[in-house]
């Protein structure tokens, strides 16, 4: 569904924690729709955004739908670049081990399972941001 073959770099900037506000859920809903448009999609988890992909979340006590499984489905939609900022993790006492194991199957590598989550430094995140054509903030 791309417009005359135009491919732009789209960045989904996530800086807010899940459940306290709707932004994490509704930004994910935009990402899923984006998959149909064959653009170059990256998700960035910065500041409190890193909390969105912590593992073992259980929402039964707050009676809200747990949308964690949707992150796991991203690979099926060809969304394979989830950049998580290292400094944001460290400031919050977190490490890569605390994150969900989100993977995709690389069709160019015999469908080998590879990690979608890429932990990057603040400097690398800043460079990534500078290259984008469209940034959706939530």
């Amino acid at each position: 569904m791309s417009e005359e073959g135009v491919v732009k770099k789209f960045l989904y900037l996530n800086r807010k924690a899940p459940y306290g506000t709707v932004y994490a859920l509704e930004s994910l809903e935009v990402v899923l729709i984006a998959a149909a448009f064959d653009q170059d999609v990256s998700l960035a988890f910065v500041d409190d955004g890193v909390y969105q992909i912590l593992k073992d979340k259980n929402t039964s006590g707050i009676n809200m739908k747990d949308f964690s499984p949707t992150y796991n489905a991203l690979g099926d939609y060809d969304i394979t670049k989830l950049y998580v900022e290292k400094e944001s993790l460290l400031e919050r006492g977190l490490s890569e081990d605390d994150l969900m194991d989100i993977v995709y199957e690389d069709e160019d590598d015999d469908w080998a399972e590879k990690p979608s989550v890429r932990v990057v430094s603040r400097a690398e995140m800043a460079e990534l941001m500078e290259t984008q054509d469209v940034v959706f903030s939530f």
Partner: protein
Amino acid sequence: MILHTVNKSPFERNALESCLAHAQAGSAVLMLEDGVYGAMKGTRIESSVSQAAQNVKLYVLGPDLAARGISEDKLIAGVSVVDYGGFVDLTVENSAVQSWL
């Protein structure tokens, strides 16, 4: 280069701090809405904003300053005041807009 926008007070959110930690040299940062408070002299963040001014081009939206009763002589040196026309021009002159909400 990217035009970054910050619309919340630096004393309420970490948006300005995070923005300045990511904005690359030569990019532009526009403070608007409650973000304009980040451009004021005499705050506990003044030195970090002044320092950033050496690296990125800092702008503040005039109408939002006026609405909040902040006169231009209260601003950190190196911050340029623009109106909505200037805001539009900044989006045109830069390659994309990134909002730090």
